[in-house]
C-alpha cells in the first residue's frame, strides 16, 4: 500500500527552485536596484532632509525603507508571476490535479513568496550595511523581523490573489504599477510622513504599507511615526483579512477550476 504524505512541501520546494534557478534576476537584480536608490537618494538628499528631528541620518533612515520595499515588491512578484506563468503556459494543471487543498496551495505559494522577499531583503541589508555600518546596532531586531514576515506574507497573499485574478501579463503589470508601486512609494520609504503637509500625512494613515515600513523601521531605531503596537495590530489585521479572502477564492476555485 502506498502511503501519501502532505503535498504542499513539494509545491513550496518547487516555488523556491523556480526563483533560485534564476537567482540572478530574482535576487541579485533587486539588490542592485535598492543599492542604486540608496547611493543616489542619500547622496542627493542627505543635506536636505531631516528625519526624526535630526536624530537619525537620512542615509541610515533610508536603508530600512529600501529593505522593506524590496521585501514587499519581491514577495508580490514571486507568487503573482509564478501563478500567471503557470496559467498562461497551462502547467497549472499539474497543481490542480493532485489532492492539494486550498490551505495547501495558500501555504506553499505564500511561504515561497515570503522566502524570496526575505532573501532579497537580507541581500539589500547586507550590501547597504557596508555603507551604513551603524545600522548593525538594532534596538529591536524582533520587531523588525516580525514586520518583515508580516509584510512579506501580506504581499505574497496579494500576489496570489492578483495571479489568480489576472488572465494576461499586462493585467498583472497594471495591478503592480497602479496599486503596489504607488502604495509602496507613498508609504514613507523615502521620507518620514511628519515631513509631509498635513493632508498627505493624514492620507498616509490609510495606507497599510505605511504601517509595515514604519514598524519595520522602529526595529532599527527605536523611533517611529506611530506606536509600533498600533502598526502591528493594523498589519496583522490586514494579513488575516487578505488570507481569508485568498482562502475563500481558492476554496471556490475562482478562475482556477471552471
Amino acid at each position: 500500500m502506498t502511503t501519501f504524505g502532505a503535498g504542499w512541501p513539494t509545491l513550496l520546494h518547487k516555488e523556491l527552485l523556480r526563483f533560485w534557478k534564476v537567482a540572478f534576476q530574482t535576487i541579485l537584480a533587486p539588490v542592485l536596484t535598492a543599492l542604486l536608490y540608496l547611493l543616489i537618494f542619500s547622496h542627493v538628499l542627505e543635506s536636505h532632509i531631516s528625519v526624526y528631528e535630526g536624530r537619525v541620518a537620512y542615509g541610515a533612515f533610508l536603508v530600512p525603507g529600501l529593505v522593506m520595499m524590496s521585501v514587499l515588491q519581491n514577495s508580490f512578484a514571486n507568487s503573482s508571476s509564478s501563478l500567471i506563468q503557470s496559467k498562461i503556459t497551462g502547467n497549472l494543471i499539474f497543481v490542480l490535479l493532485p489532492p492539494l487543498s486550498p490551505v495547501d496551495l495558500f501555504i506553499a505559494y505564500v511561504l515561497g513568496a515570503m522566502i524570496r522577499g526575505i532573501a532579497v531583503g537580507l541581500g539589500v541589508l547586507a550590501v547597504t550595511l557596508f555603507f551604513v555600518p551603524s545600522l548593525l546596532y538594532m534596538p529591536h531586531p524582533l520587531w523588525a523581523l516580525g514586520f518583515a514576515l508580516l509584510g512579506s506574507a501580506i504581499l505574497g497573499t496579494l500576489g496570489l490573489i492578483a495571479g489568480i485574478w489576472a488572465d494576461k501579463f499586462d493585467q498583472l503589470a497594471a495591478f503592480q504599477n497602479f496599486f503596489i508601486v504607488p502604495l509602496t512609494f507613498l508609504s514613507g520609504v523615502f521620507y518620514s510622513i511628519h515631513s509631509l503637509p498635513r493632508f498627505w500625512q493624514q492620507l498616509s494613515h490609510f495606507n497599510p504599507f505605511f504601517y509595515m515600513i514604519d514598524g519595520f523601521r522602529y526595529g532599527f531605531f527605536g523611533l517611529s511615526d506611530v506606536a509600533p503596537l498600533t502598526s502591528l495590530g493594523i498589519v496583522l489585521t490586514c494579513a488575516l483579512a487578505l488570507a481569508l479572502i485568498a482562502l475563500a477564492l481558492l476554496q471556490r476555485g475562482w478562475k482556477l477550476r471552471t
Binding site: 501519501f4 504524505g5 502532505a6 503535498g7 513539494t10 497551462g90 494543471i93 489532492p99 492539494l100 487543498s101
Partner: protein, 306 residues
C-alpha cells in the same frame, strides 16, 4: 464491486453551450474504456469533472467510490490524468518534473518507480534534459509519466496520441495495454477510431453532451453492418435478394452472416450463371458505426423543437 468511475446525471453548461446534458456512465475496474465523439461532444468536460478541474451544475461523479468534490483527496489520488494539451514547466528537467509531480501527491523517495516509468516510456536517456529541449512526442510521454507517478488505479488519457507519429503511437499503445493488463482501469478519448477499435473493450459515444451509444466494441461492430461483400455483377442471385443492403447500377452491397456465407454466395452465383466483374469482402469498422450513430444522433437532436 464498486465501479472505477461512476457518473450520475452529470450536467454542465458554459454560457449558451450545454457541454454535458445529463450523462450517466459506469466504468468497471480493469476495463479499457473508450470515450468517443466529435469535437464539442463533451468528452473533455466529462474528464475535467472527474479530475476536479470543472464542477458540474448538477449530478455527481465518483472515482472508486470517492466523490470528486466531497472526497476529492481520495478521488484525485485514485485518478491519473494525461491532459490533452501539451503542457510542461520549462524550469525543470524530466526527472525533476516527475519528482515534483510525485511530491504533490505526497510521495517522497519515489525514485525507483520514476526510473521504471522513464524506462517504460523510453525516456531514460532524457532524464536530465530540460523539458524545453524535448520533442513533442517526448513531452507527450512525460505527460503520461506524470499521470502515472502516484500509481493511480484509474487512468484517463485525453487524446494521448493526437499529433504523435505512428511509431510512438504504437509504443504508447503497447504501454497502455500493459498498464491495463496489470490491472489499471483505462479510459481513453481519441479521434482515431481505429485506436479505440483496437484497444477498447467497451465504448461510449457522446454527442452534444449526451451518451448516444454505450456497448462493448464487439457489439457495436456487429450490431451495425457486420461483414459485407461488394459485388459488381449483372444481377444478384434470387435467393440473395433479401441480403442486398445497397444496389447502385450493378454495384451491390450484400450482408454476410459470417465468412462461410461467402461460399454459399459463390455457389449461388455459379448455379445461376452470373458473371462476376469484381468482388470484395469488407469488414465493418468503428468508423462506419460511428458515422451512423452520429448522423442518427444529429437527426434526433434537430428533431427536438427549440
Amino acid at each position: 464491486m464498486r465501479p472505477a468511475v461512476e457518473a450520475i446525471q452529470l450536467a454542465r453548461r458554459f454560457g449558451a453551450v450545454q457541454a454535458l446534458a445529463g450523462v450517466d456512465l459506469t466504468v468497471h475496474e480493469g476495463e479499457f474504456f473508450g470515450l468517443l465523439g466529435p469535437n464539442g461532444a463533451g468528452k473533455t468536460t466529462l474528464i475535467s469533472i472527474l479530475a476536479g478541474l470543472t464542477r458540474p451544475d448538477t449530478g455527481s461523479a465518483r472515482i472508486l467510490g470517492h466523490d470528486v468534490i466531497t472526497d476529492y483527496r481520495a478521488a484525485r489520488r485514485a485518478l491519473g490524468v494525461v491532459p490533452q494539451e501539451l503542457v510542461f514547466d520549462p524550469f525543470f528537467s524530466v526527472r525533476e518534473t516527475l519528482r515534483i509531480q510525485a511530491g504533490y501527491f505526497g510521495l517522497r523517495r519515489a525514485d525507483d518507480w520514476i526510473d521504471e516509468i522513464l524506462a517504460h516510456l523510453d525516456l531514460t536517456s532524457k532524464a536530465d534534459a530540460n523539458m524545453r529541449s524535448l520533442s513533442g512526442g517526448m513531452k507527450r510521454r512525460v505527460l503520461v509519466g506524470q499521470a502515472l507517478v502516484h500509481k493511480p488505479p484509474v487512468i484517463v488519457l485525453d487524446e494521448p496520441t493526437a499529433g504523435v507519429d505512428v511509431e510512438l503511437r504504437q509504443s504508447l499503445w503497447g504501454f497502455i495495454r500493459k498498464l491495463n493488463r496489470d490491472g489499471h482501469t483505462i479510459i481513453l478519448t481519441t479521434h482515431y477510431l481505429e485506436e479505440a477499435e483496437a484497444l477498447c473493450g467497451r465504448i461510449a459515444m457522446l454527442s452534444a453532451g449526451r451518451v448516444v451509444a454505450l456497448d462493448t466494441t464487439r457489439n457495436l461492430l456487429s450490431q451495425f453492418a457486420g461483414l459485407t461483400v461488394r459485388l459488381v455483377a449483372g444481377r444478384v442471385p434470387a435467393s440473395w435478394q433479401s441480403r442486398v443492403l445497397r444496389a447502385d447500377g450493378g454495384v451491390y452491397l450484400l450482408r454476410l452472416d459470417d465468412y462461410a456465407d461467402l461460399e454459399a454466395l459463390l455457389a449461388a452465383l455459379r448455379t445461376e450463371g452470373i458473371a462476376i466483374t469484381e468482388l470484395a469482402l469488407q469488414e465493418a469498422d468503428l468508423e462506419q458505426v460511428f458515422l451512423r450513430i452520429m448522423s442518427g444522433a444529429r437527426a434526433s437532436v434537430t428533431a427536438v423543437p427549440a
